[in-house]
Symmetry: none
Subunit: 405 residues, 2 copies
Amino acid sequence: MANFTLLKELVQPAKTKIVMLVLDGVGGLPNADDLTELEAAHTPNLDRLAREGCLGQHYPVEVGITPGSGPGHLGLFGYDPVKYEIGRGVLEAVGIGLPLSADDVFARGNFCTLDAAGNISDRRAGRIPTETCVKLVNKIKAANIQVADDVEVTIEPVLDYRFVLGMRGKGLSSNLGETDPQRTGVPPMQVEAGDAASQRTADLFNAWVKAATEVIKDDAPANGLTLRGFSGDPAFPKFKDVYGLKAGAIAVYPMYRGLASLVGMNMVEHHAHSIAEEFEAAAHVWNDYDFLFIHVKYTDSRGEDGKFDAKKAVIEEADAALPKLLALKPDVLIVTGDHCTPSQLKAHSWHPVPMLLWAPATVRRDRSSAFGERECARGGLGTFRAGDIMQLALAHAGRLAKFGA
Amino acid sequence: MANFTLLKELVQPAKTKIVMLVLDGVGGLPNADDLTELEAAHTPNLDRLAREGCLGQHYPVEVGITPGSGPGHLGLFGYDPVKYEIGRGVLEAVGIGLPLSADDVFARGNFCTLDAAGNISDRRAGRIPTETCVKLVNKIKAANIQVADDVEVTIEPVLDYRFVLGMRGKGLSSNLGETDPQRTGVPPMQVEAGDAASQRTADLFNAWVKAATEVIKDDAPANGLTLRGFSGDPAFPKFKDVYGLKAGAIAVYPMYRGLASLVGMNMVEHHAHSIAEEFEAAAHVWNDYDFLFIHVKYTDSRGEDGKFDAKKAVIEEADAALPKLLALKPDVLIVTGDHCTPSQLKAHSWHPVPMLLWAPATVRRDRSSAFGERECARGGLGTFRAGDIMQLALAHAGRLAKFGA
């Protein structure tokens, strides 16, 4: 992770602009032609930046560890993903774009099937489709369950049998035990308070569960529910405080906007769908920020689909759009991923993530010829932890004072 | 940093000799010909050592951090520069070559201008030139101010309006507050004791300040003074104890001799001015030491001047003199810098520092062809923290036992 203590001493203001372009899941494995998606892609712009810049490869969490989206991005942002934990409830909430405050407690909910005796017969309610989940959540919303005058309840569907439940109010606590017994043949558990200060919150959630279960009692196979992962705002240090950067996030998917908001980035309003439109959104707010995080989702999606050529095409789309971003003249541009998603594996992987650092005024060119995994493995930055990236970015942007005389 | 705990178990005696040749600020950035100073320099000897040895690049403090001379050298010596802090007073003292003992307290002094009411009107005394500073210090010396029978006072000029003040005596403490109010229109503050045990030392410094101010009262614009950065011997672990090495330092500038003395190196007496003469000084004491630190200053100086060709020439001077050093047949020779000083930036920088490890009997050659930044980035040692260097040196010198059965 970045050394926040040391940075507090060294961060200095500057007028420079940093862009972190995350091609989600960009790293891959070579195909029969011995080329990865990134290496096979026609990327004249990225290759030029590689020749003018410096390459390397990083581990977002630790060597051999396959990061989920949360840890992958926290690593890029310089926050040790092992130390900076995001509770499941909060992750689910930010993942669907719910705002988060210090007064919030979120839980991840599952619809389940209860038998006549009130015991769980299916912990996932027969894996009902998302549309059913939406209908059930709307039915519960319509019932307008009140638990206390000073507490606001939020419920939103996620996917399949999953929903997110939040309560907002002063003095609420997330130190609560989950209600999923993790087996069938027994009833859901009560929400237990982890300490005396959490008793009221436990009582409120129990009251809500009782009322909501009443609402859906005739909706088998989804006639019950369980709650897990109670969690509140993790109160991470913010970009402005640790890096001195006014930071904005441009992402199409709520999950990535949510992750960025946890580290204090502002959400840039935009209507972008394509990568080019995301870069246009960056142009609109260029004067408002020192740092822009731009997230490209579909490299990962196509990797997860197992579609080598489709992933390659997303990379080519990013490359083709890149001149729009370069026209803004960032002082430092980092292009990398939050993890690898080799299309051969159809999943995130633990392989080191290729990275390109471009900073025309200050970078040490490393004689790389193109942006690709094997070039990055021999690049001038070596192999490092993602936690170093922000320090590299700040240094190349002239935003760190000398340490010691 | 080096793992002192582990080394304590593993260090074993040997007759081998290690040389650490520090070309201060040696790393750079490529010019229009895509060559750094080191790459552009004609260095047949270093290039041969590169072919016979192994290259790598290191970060003296951390990724992205630009080291000052103190942290840069502590990093090379294996001491975590963030953990092993050197107070400003002590750094100033060792920087001008004053000896340091456990009974010393040093402060950095500034001459200042006092108005008729005794308030500071200029915190830097109109930035008087060094010659004036020397005259004032000599006048104060001549006044022979005594503060106590068992306390010896030292005052020496530094540069411009700056001087260093030391007291030596049993039981003195450096837990003292500075007297510079950091603004004008108010008088200098009294030296405040940070705890009861420091009260006597505070009283002694206050007595001295009163007497010294009396001596210079008619010397406006330098008719007052302030003291900052009170500090004592940081009592770092010593080379002999952590590495089992009898170590000597050959440096032309006092600052580097001082830094070396803080880690327990002996100062080699010499009259060297050129690099060749420094190597001759090494020859004179070759049988007295296991480890020699040889410091070459002017690579950094020319880099700070922004003079690419002049920095290149210093590197060529070092290369040309190298046969004198090689004739001594060191078992391990490390050639590196304490940080980079690219002439394009005219300043220290955060870029990784090129390093050459030569150890004819034990090194794994890495097929490097020349000593240069980009060769080092692809070298067999990879990219690492400077804290690893001493362990590499000891290992290649046969001075570390096997760990575990």
